[in-house]
């Protein structure tokens, strides 16, 4: 068995790391709910396990999602992650083949070239030399890119890159040193014993002329081992915790565990899975429009991790979901933001004065939503359509109703919200309806996520499409050039992108725009951004409006009363809700 004192730093570091990870992850999983633990056990012995493995391969190693957004950034992450992974696998195979033993000490593959000077005699030696050197080159290219990104982030198309803390600095510097040191160690070894491939071999030859190989030989291996040790020890206190945590998150998610508005163990796993790639920064409208630089998801997660969440930062988020949509790790960023608001919410509540009665019974319950009362054209249009189509409906909040509860929820007032939810829930149940149609996407998300209604819950655009497809109403086609704006809560929030478009295409000439569907821009007036002031919102609104007006439409169509009110401010083009468009088309 091969041994040398220099392997000790590596081995000690690795052991401590593995122990730390087992304890940490074990504790977090222990802290999960009973239902969630059952889901893990069930999922482990099912196909979900393979789904998890596949996703770990695609996202943690190849970083496919990052590639889609930013190829250079994706390559950087992939070369480091996948390259290192393959180096470990390749090295293990190499050392097993050479030693004819199925099990080796873990440090043998890492320090293979030190312990095995005469490798040309065993099978596949040349192939392995080539592959290992190629992988080393791959990883080194990633390290170079990472260095460049630190100083010149614009090359990556990123306006800003993440700031570092002390634990990060140790881990970052040691990580950057690992592969160059491996390169030096292997090259110097090759220079002495000629056991290197195309990269280390040739470098070794060059070093033989320029460097005192004998003197450097042993110290570089010590350095390589030590730097690995520093990295392993610093890892749990740095962003690189994401390397392993991301895999844990992927498995938990595939087993069916969902993110939640209250901060629990799963939220903790999410927080530690953040690789600080920084993709969320440029997606945030608060940065691009209002120049607020310190509240983006990556910084917020950092503050959660360090347990110093500032109240303004918790409330300085529109919850528009753009960061969440593009997060390559799939962290539930909105829920984590809301979970931190709970601490600052005052506990006063008194809703005993609300005792609504629902007397009418019908098959369809229509809930306009608070905001829709301030855009009466929408509810008037819906009533006209219901009557024309002969729908058996009841208008639950006709004379002004109880709020759905989502504004309270996203402000951190979860207990208060549940009181309203209970009252509304009873109203809807009393109506006996099988389908709940709402005009406000905020209410829609609330009904779907926070209510436990066992009936169909849809937005009015989906209902209207159904009416058209069932031939209960018919639309005339016109050539009006229009653009459709996806509201945050309907699009990213509930995943409804296609039905409004299908409906509009039957009656208008709908143009495609650059920032649509998942990339749609927030109008600025979300109920999530409590701390964002009206100058900042105005900036976001102007940018979102300009992005629509760029296509010189004759009409802007949206499906949210808040968005409608916001875009109606612009003096150039009219704004209509989908229901109004349908009614106008029906009448012709």
């Amino acid at each position: 068995m091969n041994y040398d004192p220099f392997i000790l730093p590596f081995s000690i570091g690795a052991s401590i790391l593995i122990l730390t990870l087992i304890l940490k992850y074990g504790y977090w999983i222990y802290k999960l709910d009973k239902d969630e633990k059952i889901k893990i056990v069930r999922g482990f012995f099912s196909i979900k396990l393979f789904k998890g493995i596949r996703e770990v391969f695609l996202e943690s190693l190849i970083h496919r999602k990052i590639f889609k957004e930013n190829a250079l950034l994706g390559y950087m992450h992939m070369s480091l992650a996948f390259g290192w992974f393959l180096l470990i696998i390749g090295g293990s195979l190499e050392s097993k083949i050479h030693s004819h033993r199925p099990f080796n000490m873990p440090y043998e593959p890492i320090f293979f070239k030190f312990f095995n000077h005469n490798i040309n005699i065993y099978p596949w030696a040349d192939e392995f030399k080539f592959i290992m050197d190629f992988l080393l080159l791959l990883v080194l290219s990633g390290v170079v890119l990472a260095l460049i990104k630190r100083v010149w982030s614009r090359l990556f198309g990123m306006k800003k890159t993440t700031k570092l803390r002390i634990g990060d600095r140790f881990a970052l510097i040691s990580l950057w040193l690992i592969f160059p040191l491996r390169f030096f160690a292997e090259s110097i070894t090759s220079g002495l014993y000629n056991n290197g491939g195309f990269l280390t071999g040739n470098a070794g030859k060059v070093f033989a002329y320029t460097l005192p190989l004998e003197t450097l030989y042993y110290p570089t291996w010590w350095a390589y081992s030590s730097v690995l040790c520093v990295f392993f020890l610093a890892l749990p206190y740095s962003r690189y915790m994401h390397i392993f945590t991301e895999a844990v998150l992927i498995f938990l998610r595939n087993f069916g565990i969902k993110s939640c508005k209250v901060f629990n163990a799963y939220s903790k796993v999410e927080v530690y899975s953040c690789s600080r790639c920084g993709l969320c920064i440029d997606k945030c409208p608060l940065l691009t429009s209002s120049r607020i630089k310190d509240t983006q998801a990556v910084y917020f997660l950092q503050s959660v991790r360090n347990k110093n969440v500032k109240e303004e930062k918790a409330f300085d988020c529109l919850l528009c979901g753009r960061c969440q949509e593009f997060c390559p790790v799939g962290i539930g960023l909105n829920n984590i933001r809301v979970s931190q608001r709970l601490d600052f919410a005052p506990g006063l509540q008194n809703f005993n004065f609300i005792n609504p009665q629902q007397k009418e019974k019908a098959t369809v319950a229509y809930f306009a939503g608070c905001m829709t009362h301030l855009t009466p054209t929408i509810k008037i249009a819906m009533e006209e359509i219901f009557k024309k189509a002969g729908t058996d409906y009841t208008f639950i909040d006709k004379d002004g109703g109880i709020c759905c509860g989502r504004p309270l929820m996203v402000s951190g007032e979860i207990m208060k919200a549940h009181k309203l939810i209970e009252k509304n829930h009873n109203l809807i149940k009393e109506s006996g309806a099988k389908t709940l149609v709402t005009s406000c996407p905020i209410c829609l998300k609330s009904f779907k996520e926070d209510y436990k209604l066992n009936i169909e819950i849809i937005h009015h655009s989906q209902f209207l499409l159904r009416l058209v497809n069932e031939r209960k109403i018919s639309l005339n086609k016109s050539e009006i050039k229009a653009v459709y704006h996806d509201p945050c809560e309907l699009g990213r929030g509930c995943g409804v992108y296609e039905e409004p478009r299908q409906l509009l295409q039957k009656t208008l000439s709908l143009q495609r725009i650059k920032n649509e569907k998942e990339s749609s821009m927030c109008c600025g007036n979300s109920i999530g951004g409590l701390h964002v002031n009206h100058v900042q919102r105005e900036a976001i609104t102007m940018d979102a409006t300009a992005a629509l007006l760029k296509y010189k439409p004759e009409l802007i169509v949206t499906s949210c009363p808040l968005c409608k009110k916001t875009f109606a401010k612009n003096p150039e083009t009219g704004v209509k809700d989908i229901a109004e468009v349908v009614v106008a088309s029906m009448r012709n």
Binding site: L374, T375, P376, I380, K569, N570
Partner: protein, 351 residues
Amino acid sequence: MKKRVTIIGGGIAGMETATYLASMGYETTLLEKSNEIGGHLLNWEKLFPTMRLGKDVVNFIDRGIELSKTNVIKNADIIDAKKAGNIFSVKLSDGRTFESDAVVVATGYDLFDARKKEEYGYGIYDNVITSAELEILLTKEKHVLTPTGKVPKRVGFVHCVGSRDEKVGNVYCSKVCCVTAVKQSIEIKEKNPDAEVFCFYMDMRMFGMHFESLYKQAQEKSGVNFIRGRLSEACENMDGSILVKVEDTLAGKPLRMSIDLLVLMVGMVPSEGTKKIGNMLGLNFGANGFLKSQDQHSLSVVSNVPGVFFTGCCVSPRTINNVFADSRSAAIMTASYIEGYPIEKRIAELK
């Protein structure tokens, strides 16, 4: 050769400026996009605060144009306006080009499109009209009827529609609507003595001479009711009357009432023509979209482009007597510019 001036906009501001420039001996052309001159004043029956007939003022201004021999061009659709050296050329769509040594922009205002404030129901419910539409009803009818043909028992006026409202993008006050509401409420009571009239206001801006006494007259002689509370929304009752929701802030309680005819006091916004001409000539716009003067106090008719002056509501909401003063001031400053008075020097000293 005689010096020339082109005046863009044939409302009262442009007309009065044209009268004086022409009478001073300049070859003056007045361009108006519609087929009559006189602008918004043509549709106004009576003027505050004295309730004198708007027609009289229109005739007075018309006479001025006649006497001064201004060249009036109607149906003028301007497609380009630019300055080359010291000469301005304004090109129309029918091919004619007017060259001049100075230009006065008097493109005026448009009324706020009340459909943007959809919670008030304009364009949705039948019995919601704007103050401009009411004025036309007042000029034509003996008694005022609702759009559905009924005699209104209750008429409500809503102040500040499209003004002082961050949510529609106009944060400024349109100056004239408060006193117009008082005037129109007095007129309604004269035409429909049995009607109850209510004014829903945030503030009562009675800044001018005799405005306060008009307000008092409305309360005292006409019995108009003033309720301090801004409308949040209006709905329609089964019989077509409008149900308004407001908080009676002075009584400290929410209030609702059914109104047969709801009149929205729509504010002034910079007109389409103002934006168009302003962009063509490279004029600066102020924060609210109106044209920006070189100095708010001392150079309110002077623009950032030497030789271009402005007058009237294209710069900010104005009353009629303001417009007279403005227009004559614009005429003087244009004339002195043409005669070589070094305005630029004076502006530089101000900074």
